[in-house]
Subunit: 395 residues, 2 copies
């Protein structure tokens, strides 16, 4: 049971947020703040890419040293990645400036960045407008914050629910360089439940495996992926198992919002692998299919090309699959077809196949015929616009 | 030292070839034969995809059972993959028909197929025209054969050289679903050197690791990848080390021809990883960069986006890289730039960068600063036409 709340992150008691245009980007909002006046327990998960942005390294150290924080600052327009000592200095300048304005200690500060990699991060726009940014806190819903963290995204991604006894709200951004290997892109999730950093860290890690780590847009893992889970504590103690389930609802929805807004995507696709020997095998096969450029272009072409699905399953790493035991189905609001069953090609109604794949949401189902494990991975199709966006955008 | 021969495969004494339109495809040539009147020692390497086409499984068994062969038949237009017992029957029918026409034993016959996966393979066109196909043998250069095995390829891929004491010639096909994990696509290499199957098998495997297994177009591994190396023996015994070197010249050139004709490709790109700890690390990093959709779209956009190169190096599997020790250069006939050196972004002349990437052939050089190993991997850019070709083509 859950009720929808309409203030986004700001629905969480003990949390304020804001977002504004400072000048890192030409025109759009480019910096946002999440502020906990009384502090919050915070945990984070970060990219496993060995090339990590300065804020990723910074937050890992901060979270290691403390459990309660008052500020999470986020800028878009510059990833502050691969900027050497200057990038580190830029981050420290942001920290000093914002902590000063908000009268917060340096150890209570976290920061995330997203945008172009390797471009010098000139922080003078923040120095000039720090006070006016901070003055926005608490005056609006979290719309401004959700807007301020976008890059190639075409829409904001946020939600807030009242569950039984506590609230959970989240904001995410991400559209390209999406193949998370931890949390994804940027995600900020908050609750008023009373949980400590250790509990939050465990929950965030576990639920990330089933949500953010099961989406892909283009197979490229980012240098800046960061997901944070903060708890203000005002709703009191909670049942951990129930909270984990509710958190999964929130994080799965945020993850799927990212895929729906995948660069150039015209379709939202669930790749479901069933009857695998174990979950690792199901996941490996599902990811292999979900990242195959040939499968993704066939989906764009609305072609029920099960041969490409089978080929991608065949080169998945891990436990071996057996093509003679596999079945493949395509399903959508327009119907369902199974062109390959128990290792045999079936006569396929091409008109029906076309109608099924013409829908915006498609399910590809692979039954491996080997065991009991099942996994869903979410992906999108691969269109002309992906090429256009990424041939022209420097990230 | 090598001299160019102009008859392709047919330059090899003891080898005849042909190609014709039988009717597997609408109009273009779709079946070719390589024929050794006196037999030849033959070895093969095949896709490591667990989903294997019928001819792949067939050839593995044939090569296991015998070392000398008289016929390699190849059809395009149908991959004869995932066709169940009917696919196996279709292959056996081709074998019976061709062996009968050519008066060759069933155990002297090999066959490869390429085209659509999972589409029923109707062999009646061969039954109708088998004799007229066989009558073409030896009457032309290998052009007809090279044409007969193409699918989405825009050009034939063949070469023939006179080395010191022997000849080596080869024909290949491939354009999409190119991310070989063994030999690639289809390749047929022949020599008049006197080598037995065991020697040929070892040579083919070793040289494949450095040539066909170092190219990528789209990261998708095929169900039909097959490479054959045949020796007619007429030139007598050879020095094995020298032969391996010459074979590598031939196979590297064939591999690069495939990348140059990559689906939608406008650029031929060498990704060179230097100063790696070992060759496995160099290869993992080079492949990660060479398969990154974001790197490939940036190349299409002629954008020296070294941040994407660095990010792709950062998520390569295997030994860890250290971004602080890395350097990245772009090079072409128009010049060279090093926008990232020893872990530091450098001021980049954007006009020069644009001119460098405007060329048809580009070298991306990554120095890892960790050791002595070096590897080249060949790839192409990722253009609108890749999406167009693969949204519309069923393979």
């Amino acid at each position: 049971m859950k009720d929808v709340l309409d203030q986004g992150l700001a629905s969480i008691p003990g949390l304020e947020s804001c977002g504004a245009h400072l000048g890192f980007k030409y025109k759009k909002k480019d910096m946002g703040l999440i502020y906990f006046p009384d502090g919050a327990e915070v945990a984070g998960v970060f990219t496993q890419n060995l090339v990590q942005a300065h804020p990723v390294k910074f937050c890992q150290a901060q979270l290691e040293a403390a459990s309660r924080f008052k500020v999470i600052a986020v800028n878009s327009g510059n990833a502050n990645a691969c900027n050497g000592p200057d990038g580190w200095q830029a981050l420290k300048t942001c920290q000093a400036c914002l902590c000063d304005c908000l009268e917060v200690k340096a150890e209570e500060f976290l920061m995330a960045s997203t945008g172009v990699i390797g471009e010098s991060f000139d922080v003078s726009p923040l120095l000039a407008k720090c006070q006016s940014l901070c003055d926005q806190l608490g005056r609006t819903s979290s719309d401004d914050f959700a807007q301020a963290i976008l890059t190639t995204d075409t829409c904001t991604k946020q939600l807030a629910y009242q569950f039984d006894g506590y609230r959970i709200a989240g904001v995410a951004k991400g559209s390209g360089m999406i193949h998370p290997n931890m949390g994804t892109m940027l995600a900020f999730i908050a609750t008023d439940a009373d949980l400590n950093q250790a509990q939050l860290g465990k929950l965030l890690y576990q639920v990330t495996q089933k949500t953010f780590n099961r989406i892909t847009v283009d197979g490229d893992s980012s240098t800046n992926d960061s997901a944070f889970l903060a708890a203000t504590g005002q709703a009191g103690p909670v049942d951990l198992d129930q909270f984990a389930q509710d958190l999964e609802v929130v994080m799965r929805e945020l993850a799927q919002m990212i895929v729906r807004d995948g660069e150039g995507a015209t379709k939202f696709v669930t790749v479901r692998v069933e009857s695998a020997q174990d979950e690792a095998q199901a996941l490996a096969v599902a990811k292999s299919v979900a990242t195959s450029n040939l499968v993704k272009t066939a989906l764009y072409g609305e072609d029920a090309n099960w041969g490409r699905v089978l080929a991608a399953a065949g080169y998945a790493e891990g436990l071996p699959v057996d093509p003679d035991r596999m079945s493949i189905s395509f399903q959508s609001l327009a119907g369902a077809i199974t062109p390959y069953q128990d290792g045999q090609a079936q006569v396929m109604d091409e008109d029906l196949a076309k109608r099924i794949l013409h829908e915006d949401e498609v399910l590809i189902q692979l039954n491996l015929g080997l065991g009991q494990a099942q996994v869903d991975v979410w992906t999108c199709d691969f269109s002309h616009d992906y090429i256009k966006i990424n041939a022209e955008y420097r990230s």
